[in-house]
């Protein structure tokens, strides 16, 4: 049987899967011929689930049972801003789990975020298996370059739950570069501007023949095409309220309809200078009548609404360029990735900022999956012909007294890498050492993301100051943080437990995998 490994672009709004066939990376279509699948999971009454574009239709018809944009919540704490925002706008139930984690409650069941993502992965896997006619379990899954350790770990867990062997967690911009550079002997510095549904990344790569070195990466995991839709949606709500002198901001169903219309209007404005938005039966008034919304939206109006969002992306570009110690003149090419980069305002702004025409040779919606497939294929054997030298996007920090942190591994450091720190016992017969690990760019612990609290126990019984514990902080090729400790004198490894982390335990993952396997993927009859 032929060895096959798939590359999966697990997006906030849409997902995509590709494999290398006869030496060529190819995005696979589902049975309806669709290449791009909404990252939507709809839970049906009979216990089965629908994933993809059919599930997306259920956002309006079965809002409480249909989960979308789960990626925005993966690896986040319940008290995070992102979670509060999702609770306000998402029709499905977002509840609190152990250790401040986030859970989704649907039809009397409680799901972790990795379990939701695992449904999308299960669908991607089914598309591959239907195409090749054999079981395929090896996969490379992409994540935004700016994802922190918790978000990467949870994405990897999603893969395990879907029964996949995750060969690599790959950064989306790096994957895109790989898709562009594949088979070409180019020697240049390339900027990847990646605006996805929910995240924005920029990576600067130095490509030297077969080596892809990431010089710097920066990002904003709270900024994406979704936010553009929200702006249009808010404007539509305003228009409705003004036209009819009613306030529909509390009508969730109306908001969902307008959000859908907003997304369509945004997409149409990439091609047209103005669009006519007509949403039938938006809201039923106190008088029992249903009211439609009809309004025209022009491109300049739209540009005005989203200008500050566009500007935010260039602040991130500034940061990356500074980290790489480059100016726009040093750049040989700019690659656009992600559906929202089709917007003329983005293309024009990118052209203006980098003083060059951006490259769009590869479909911005498919390029990440294609790159992931290339990397997946390369990991199958030792004849690997391209090398990815990636970096860690955020500074790894150690918590110190008084709510402060100190850096251990700086952002934009090449990975894999490790660093060690030595701790000395502070009291006689001290049994354990406890440390907290963070990621972020602030000295203040509360302004960083806590990854977890590690406890090293079983220390040698001795007077204070006599036991030295050497703690190793490792960032692996997936960008995932591993922490271990040993007694420097005896060389004995201390046993490590992680607490205060929202992540799933091995037992939980196994149970979730069993539940995932038992869940059937339903198909509701193809595209409309």
């Amino acid at each position: 049987m032929k060895q096959i490994a798939m590359g999966i672009d697990l997006g906030t709004s849409n997902s995509c899967v590709a494999i290398v066939e006869d030496g060529e990376p190819t995005v696979l279509a589902n049975e309806w011929g669709e290449l791009i699948h909404a990252s939507c999971v709809s839970f049906l009454e009979d216990g089965s689930v629908i994933v993809g574009n059919d599930a997306k239709k259920n956002i309006i018809t079965a809002p409480n049972f249909t989960v979308s944009s789960a990626k925005r919540l993966i690896g986040r704490f319940f008290f995070s801003e992102e979670c509060k925002k999702a609770q306000a706008v998402m029709p499905y139930a977002i509840v609190e789990g152990p250790n401040n984690s986030v859970r989704i409650a649907v039809r009397d069941q409680i799901y972790t975020l990795p379990e939701i993502s695992a449904m999308v992965l299960k669908e991607m896997r089914a598309i591959v298996e239907a195409h090749v006619g054999q079981s395929v379990t090896k996969a490379v899954i992409t994540v935004p370059a700016f994802f922190n350790d918790s978000q990467r770990q949870e994405t990897k867990n999603a893969g395990r739950i879907a029964g996949l062997e995750v060969l690599r967690i790959l950064n989306e911009p790096t994957a895109a570069a790989l898709a562009y550079g594949f088979g070409q002997n180019i020697h240049q510095r390339v900027v990847i501007y990646d605006l996805g549904g929910g995240t924005f990344d920029v990576s600067i790569l130095q490509i030297g023949e077969d080596v892809f070195e990431v010089l710097a990466t920066a990002g904003d995991t709270y900024l994406g095409g979704d936010d553009f839709d929200d702006r249009v949606m808010q404007w539509l709500v305003q228009q409705f309220n003004q036209q009819y002198q009613m306030d529909i901001s509390g009508d969730r169903n109306a908001i969902l309809k307008l959000k859908e219309a907003a997304e369509r209007a945004k997409i149409d404005l990439s091609e047209q200078d103005s669009v006519h938005v007509h949403v039938p039966m938006v809201h039923t008034g106190a008088d029992g009548y249903s009211y439609d919304l009809e309004v025209d939206l022009t491109r300049p109006q739209f540009n005005q609404m989203v200008m500050d969002l566009v500007q935010r992306t260039f602040k991130v570009c500034d940061e990356a360029m500074q980290s790489a110690r480059l100016t726009a003149n040093d750049v040989d090419g700019v690659i656009l990735v992600g559906g929202p980069t089709r917007l003329p305002i983005i293309r024009n702004s990118v052209r203006h900022y980098f003083q060059r025409e951006p490259n769009i040779d590869v479909d911005p919606d498919l390029v990440v999956a294609l790159g992931a497939a290339i990397q997946a294929d390369a990991l199958l054997d030792t004849t690997t012909s391209t090398f990815l030298l990636d970096v860690t996007p955020q500074t790894l920090r150690l918590g110190t007294v008084g709510g402060y942190t100190e850096p251990i591994i700086d952002k934009n450091t090449a990975i894999p890498i490790d660093r060690t720190r030595t701790f000395v016992t502070a009291s006689d017969n001290q049994e354990k050492v406890r440390i907290r690990v963070y990621q972020g760019e602030s000295r203040m612990a509360e302004e960083c993301q806590m990854l977890g609290e590690f406890e090293f126990s079983g220390l040698r019984q001795a007077k204070r100051g006599e036991v030295k514990v050497e703690v190793t902080f490792e960032i692996d090729t997936d960008g995932i943080v591993n922490v271990s400790a040993r007694d420097t004198e005896t060389g004995q490894q201390a046993s490590t437990t992680i607490t205060l982390s929202g992540g799933m335990s091995d037992d939980e993952i196994e149970a979730a995998a069993a539940r995932n396997q038992a869940t059937e993927l339903a198909s509701s009859g193809g595209p409309a």
Binding site: E213, L379, T382, T384, F387, P416, I417
Partner: protein, 178 residues
């Protein structure tokens, strides 16, 4: 050389044991005089030979562990030697008496380097001078000697009697014309 071939495995296993005794230049197999371009070239060469991805499909856990350990030291070597300031500090350290304790760039080296950076910032005394001096430092990191020279020259307009700036200006004058 294809290190994934079993004939090289004993060599890799051994290197993973002895790598703790090597400095970053030895790990990258370059001299202490290597240019930034040569540092990068050495790093790319080792990435091609020893990147853990190449060994992904090999079932031998011990070997993969050894390669991973070696490769982490390669990235560590590169991340220090590509940074002019860290490289300067590190090179002094390994040529000094405490060489054996300083083979890996550690907390102490970092503290010392930060201190030196702070002192460096105090080279200029006036607000305008400090600003221009900082700009010159950035130029120097980019090896843009002409621009660094101009910035130091401008800084001296605010601090005509500053000997440290004068010395730097002369140094840069030579570099930009080289």
């Amino acid at each position: 050389m294809d290190y994934t071939h079993p004939q090289y495995w004993p060599q890799l296993m051994q290197l993973s044991q002895t790598i703790d005794g090597l400095d970053y230049y030895q790990i990258l197999n370059i001299t202490q005089m290597a240019t930034p371009g040569e540092v990068q070239k050495a790093y790319y060469g080792l990435a091609r030979a020893l990147h853990p991805d190449k060994f992904y499909g090999i079932g031998d856990d011990a070997l993969r562990g050894a390669v991973h350990k070696i490769y982490k030291r390669v990235t560590e070597s590169y991340s220090i030697l590509r940074d002019d300031q860290k490289r300067k500090r590190y090179t002094q350290d390994i040529n000094g008496e405490q060489r054996n304790e300083k083979l890996r760039y550690n907390e102490a080296s970092e503290q010392q380097q930060k201190q030196e950076e702070r002192e460096a910032k105090e080279v200029a005394k006036t607000p305008q001078g400090k600003k221009l001096y900082a700009q010159a430092q950035l130029d120097m990191q980019k090896q843009n000697w002409a621009s660094a020279y101009r910035n130091v020259q401008s800084a001296m307009m605010f601090e005509p009697g500053n000997d440290a700036l004068k010395a730097l200006k002369d140094e840069l004058a030579a570099k930009k014309d080289a």
